[in-house]
Each structure stands twice: as C-alpha cells, then as structure tokens.
C-alpha cells in the first residue's frame, strides 16, 4: 500500500440549484459534457418565491442541489450544457455557480496513474 496521496489540481466545482425533480436532467447534461460524477441532495429555497406573490406557487420550494466536480478545462462547457439543459434562461428554473477548488483527492486507478507518469 502506497503512503503517498496523489492530489488532483485544476479542479472546479459547479453547484446548481434546480426545482425538485429536475436534478436528473442536470446530471445527464453534465455527464454528456464529460463530467465524471455528480452529487444530488435536497433542500428548500426561499427568496424569489416570496417576492413573486401568488405567482410563486409555480415555483417548487423544494429544491434539488447538484454539485459536479470538473477539471478547469471542462468547466465552461459543462456549465454551458447545464444552463441550457436546465432551461436556466426561463424564470425561476435554476441557478448555477462555479467555484475554483484548490485540490482534490480520491482513488485513482493504477492504470491511469501509470499512463500519467509515462507522459511526463
């Protein structure tokens, strides 16, 4: 067992907040744009819903929150795909933000490690 931890750098996190039930579309779009994995959790949103008055009922207060880790090269295209797949250009359908991450670590398969070291 090796003691060294291989850190991944150039990682960005895309966080999306969408109406409950829409998460699967987002995950699909992200995956098609090359993202490896996504995490979905639930929450409750406030703000716009209250300010819209009675129209607010068209917005589900229950939200799905999707976080996707992408490489910094990918982030523009993944964010783009998510934006369009989630119809973020219509009122109250969703929101996304991109955060740069310093580094990340997880299990990296040996074959991938070998390939990367060979390149150098």
């Amino acid at each position: 067992m090796s003691e060294t931890i291989t850190y991944l750098t150039d990682v960005a996190m895309i966080t999306c907040v969408v109406q409950s039930g829409d998460a699967d579309d987002i995950v699909k779009a992200a995956r098609e744009a090359g993202a490896t994995a996504a995490l979905v959790y639930h929450g409750r949103g406030t703000g716009i819903r209250e300010r819209l008055g009675l129209l607010g009922i068209a917005i589900d207060a229950e939200k799905d929150i999707v976080t996707v880790l992408v490489s910094s090269d990918q982030r523009e295209i993944v964010a783009d795909r998510i934006f369009h797949a989630g119809h973020f250009d219509t009122p109250a359908r969703g929101f996304l933000c991109i955060t740069p991450l310093e580094k990340a670590a997880t299990y990296i398969p040996q074959s991938v490690k070998d390939r990367l070291t060979k390149k150098e």
């Binding site: 129209l55 607010g56 490489s71």
Partner: protein
C-alpha cells in the same frame, strides 16, 4: 507573449456568448438610521412581463397535466378499443365521454396541486407539534376524529352512494335501505371504523407491536361475521357492500378535513401557519378540482365503465340491447370477458401513483430484496386476478363468501409464514391499489355488468381486487426469501465453508 496556450485557457477567455455583469450592480444599498444602525431591508415584489409569466407557468402546468394524462388516457383507450374491436359496438356519446375524461384529468390535476399547497402544511405542523404539546389520549382522540373526517371527505364514498341508486329495491331491500335511506349513517360507521383503525395503527407505531396478531384478531372476527351473514338470505346481499367499503375508504381527502385541521391547529395547538394566501389558494384549487373531477366522473369514467360493463356480457350471452348477440361462442366470449377484466385491473393498477411510492418504500425497507418493479408487477397481477374473479362471481352468481373465505384464510396462512416486513407491505398494498381512478371505473363496470346479467348486485369486485394483491405480494415475498436463502446456501457450499 507566451508561445504556448492551454486550450482550456483559450476557451475560457473566448467565453462563447458569455456576458458578465457585476452582482454589485444588482444588490440593494442598505440604509442606516440616525444612530448608524442598519434598517432591515424589505425586498420589493418582482414584476414579470406577460411573456415571462407564461414561461414561468408553462412548465408548471404541463408537468402536472401530463402526470394525470398518463394515468387516465391509457385506461380510457383500453376501454374504448375493447368496446369497438371486440364487442363491435360504437362508444355512445363519445364527445360527452371525452369531455368528461378531460374534466377528470384537469380536476385531478387541480386537486393534487391544491392538496400539496393547502393540506400538506397542516400535516407537517400538526405532526410535529401535536405529540409535543398534547398527552397521548388527546392524540389518539384526534386521530379518531381525523379518521372519521377523512372518510366523510372521501370522493370514492360518493361513488358508492351513487352506485346505490342503481340497486333494485325489491331484490335487495336491506342493501337499498343502507345505501339510500341510511347512507349518512353508513358513512359515519365506516368513518368510525377507519378512525378506530387509525388509533390502533398509531398505538402499534408507538409501541412497536407486530402487525400479525392484529391481522389474526381483526380478520378472524370479520370472517366470523361474514360466515354468519352468509347463512342469512337477506344479509348475504350486503356482504359485497361491506367488503367493498374496505377498499373504498383509502384514498385522497378534502375540504371539511381542512376546516377540522384548521380548528385543531388554532384551538388545541395555538399555532399559526405561514403563507395563508397560498393555503387559501390551495384549498380553492381542491374545491374546483373536486367539482371538475366529480362532473368528469359522472360523464366520463363512470359512463364509460358502465357502458362497457353492460356490453361485455354480450360477448357470451344474448342481450336485448345488442343486436347479433351473443357475439362469440359461449366459452370464447367468457374467456374474452375475463381477459378484459384482467387487462383492466392490470392497467388501472400500474398507473396508480400511490403504488409507485409504496414500491420505493418497500425496496428500501427490504434492502433491495423486494424490487420496486417486482412489487408493482405483483400488486397489479393481484388486482387483475382479483377483478377477473370478481367478474366471474357476477357471471356465475357465486356467493361472495365462497371467494372471500378461502382467499383470506389463505392470506392468513401466508401471513403466518412470512416475515414482518413483507406482511406490512403486502397488507398495505391492498389499500394502495384502490385510488380515485380505479374505484369509480371498476364499481361502474361491475354495476353495469350486474344489471346486464341480472345479478342481484354488482358489488364484490373491489373486495376481490383488494385481496388479490395481498396474496400475490405475500407469495412473491416468500418466493424471493426462499430464493435468497437458496443463493446464500449455494454460495456457502461453493466456497467450501460448511453451512451452520
């Protein structure tokens, strides 16, 4: 200037079709009072242009509309096609029925959304506060009242009452009296028992009682009463109603219940709710939805069901209303009718939204041993078999006791051998299957069928539809248990470890 660019940097800088606006330009400037304290900022209401309003409402409406379309249309198509292709009869008043079905879809859509907005908040607050603020007897008493309220508000009970008008007075006087003169009392009695059952259910939940003994006790006494009724020629005719009532009571709820909950909240718990506007809107929606649904029920689902029901017997016997009947040789026609009932049961159940929820729960409860797909298939199969048997009961005029007794005795035996988890899921599935679409359809079909074949009453099909899934789910549960055990055995044998 560097000679090499990373493609990612290039892409980022290029920013195809991206604009940037500083968020600072959008956030409000905060005001301070004379002493330098911040004045809390009051957000202004957002004004949308009509185009934006449309864009906002369009997905909201279409998603909810399609949900109901998916559950109603396939069934209606099945009924209509069967009537046209197999029975070779045109659907009468097809425009009225189409309008009715549309009303059912829109009504259900309004009702469900209203329920979510107007009723769910009550449930959440009461569920959280009641046990904290009131002693156990109070909680149980309120549970009892709730059970009664829920039954009074139940739309399927209305279907039962409407069905009573089609019963012939001279042939089943007790049944007629119960459904017409004493219908309020009947609903009250049914409601009281639902409330009582809810109290027992709560106690069971609190003290972790096993479901099995409760099933043994209640089913034992009910079967005893049924046997007693079976030997009284007058009471026999009520048995169908009695067993069907059990299937009817579990469904959606509505307005008087909201009032009750509201009073409970204000007087007992002294709590208030946020978003009163939304709740009023939700309750308004449920009322509109209920009206539309009832109208649609009369002109759409019930009419279609009754129509087909009264025509199906033409497949194997002579009916004065249908020329050229019987349409098929007796045996072929009979098989066709039973296959029709089977298909109707299967289709109606697969579409039931509550079953989907139960499937998910069952899957997580049994750690995946009981797959969601398996459960839905098992329950649908059970309902299908149940309805087919119920139809056979009407055709051959079998006494209901003959079908109920062995069915529930078998269910008791299977319950004895099954694990607690499966028992819970199986007995719950009986209640889930009879929702707002299945009940009126099947009741109307049974009554139409009964009238055409001159049966005394068309009840009993629903009770068969309730027992079917219990049996199939218990059987499936035992089978998957058995399989899992066999697999485990095979694994231990293969790995050479002696099985202890």
């Amino acid at each position: 200037m560097a000679e090499h660019f990373r493609f990612g940097d290039y892409q980022h800088e290029l920013g195809y079709g991206h604009d940037e606006v500083s968020f600072n330009a959008l956030t409000p400037k905060l005001q301070r009072d004379l002493e330098g304290r911040l004045i809390p900022y009051q957000p202004t209401p957002i004004k949308l242009m009509s185009k934006e309003v449309f864009k906002l409402l369009q997905p909201y409406v279409s998603v909810r509309f399609m949900e109901q379309v998916k559950s109603v249309i396939p069934l209606a198509l099945y009924l209509a096609l069967f009537q046209i292709l197999i029975l070779r009869q045109l659907v009468e008043d097809s425009w009225v029925i189409t309008g009715g079905l549309f009303a059912v879809i829109v009504g259900l859509m309004f009702f469900m959304e209203g329920l979510k907005l107007g009723l769910m908040p009550f449930g959440t607050v009461i569920g959280k506060r009641l046990p904290q603020k009131s002693p156990l007897p109070m909680v149980l008493f309120i549970t009892l009242l709730l059970g009664i309220g829920v039954t009074f508000a139940e739309p399927a009970i209305g279907a039962l009452k409407a069905a009573g008008q089609k019963v012939a007075v001279e042939r089943a006087p007790y049944l007629f009296a119960l459904l017409n003169d004493w219908s309020e009392l009947l609903v009250l009695v049914i409601g009281f028992s639902v409330g009582f059952a809810a109290v027992i259910g709560t106690l069971r939940f609190l003290y972790g009682w096993s479901l099995k003994p409760l099933i043994y006790i209640s089913l034992g006494s009910v079967l005893g009463l049924t046997l007693y009724g079976a030997f009284d020629p007058e009471l026999t005719k009520i048995l169908g109603l009695a067993w069907d009532a059990g299937a009817v009571t579990t469904g959606p709820v509505t307005v008087p219940l909201v009032l009750f909950l509201f009073v409970l909240l204000r007087l007992v718990l002294k709590e208030t709710l946020k978003n009163m506007g939304e709740i009023v809107y939700g309750i308004g929606l449920t009322i509109i939805g209920m009206c539309l649904f009832n109208a649609g029920l009369t002109y759409g689902l019930s009419k279609l069901g009754g129509n087909v029901g009264s025509l199906v017997p033409a497949a194997f016997m002579e009916l004065s209303t249908v020329p050229l009947s019987p349409l098929y040789i007796y045996v072929v026609g009979l098989v066709l009718s039973l296959v029709f009932a089977f298909g109707l049961g299967y289709g109606a159940t697969v579409a039931e939204p509550a079953l989907n929820a139960l499937g998910t729960t069952a899957q997580s409860l049994t750690n995946g041993v009981f797959k969601k797909k398996t459960l839905i298939a098992a329950v649908s199969l059970g309902v299908a078999i149940g309805i087919a048997i119920g139809l056979a009961k009407l055709i051959f005029n079998l006494p209901l006791v003959w079908l109920i007794m062995p069915g529930y005795v078998l269910a008791l035996v299977l319950t004895y051998f099954s694990s607690e988890t499966f028992v819970n899921v199986a007995w719950d599935s009986a209640g889930v299957t009879t929702g707002p679409i299945t009940v009126p359809l099947v009741l109307a079909m049974g009554l139409g069928f009964g009238n055409a074949t001159n049966a005394v009453e068309g009840f009993g099909i629903l009770s068969m539809a309730s027992i079917g899934p219990i049996l199939t789910v218990l059987a499936t549960g035992l089978l998957s248990d058995y399989n899992a055990r066999n697999e485990a055995l095979a694994v231990t044998k293969a790995s050479g470890i002696p099985h202890v």
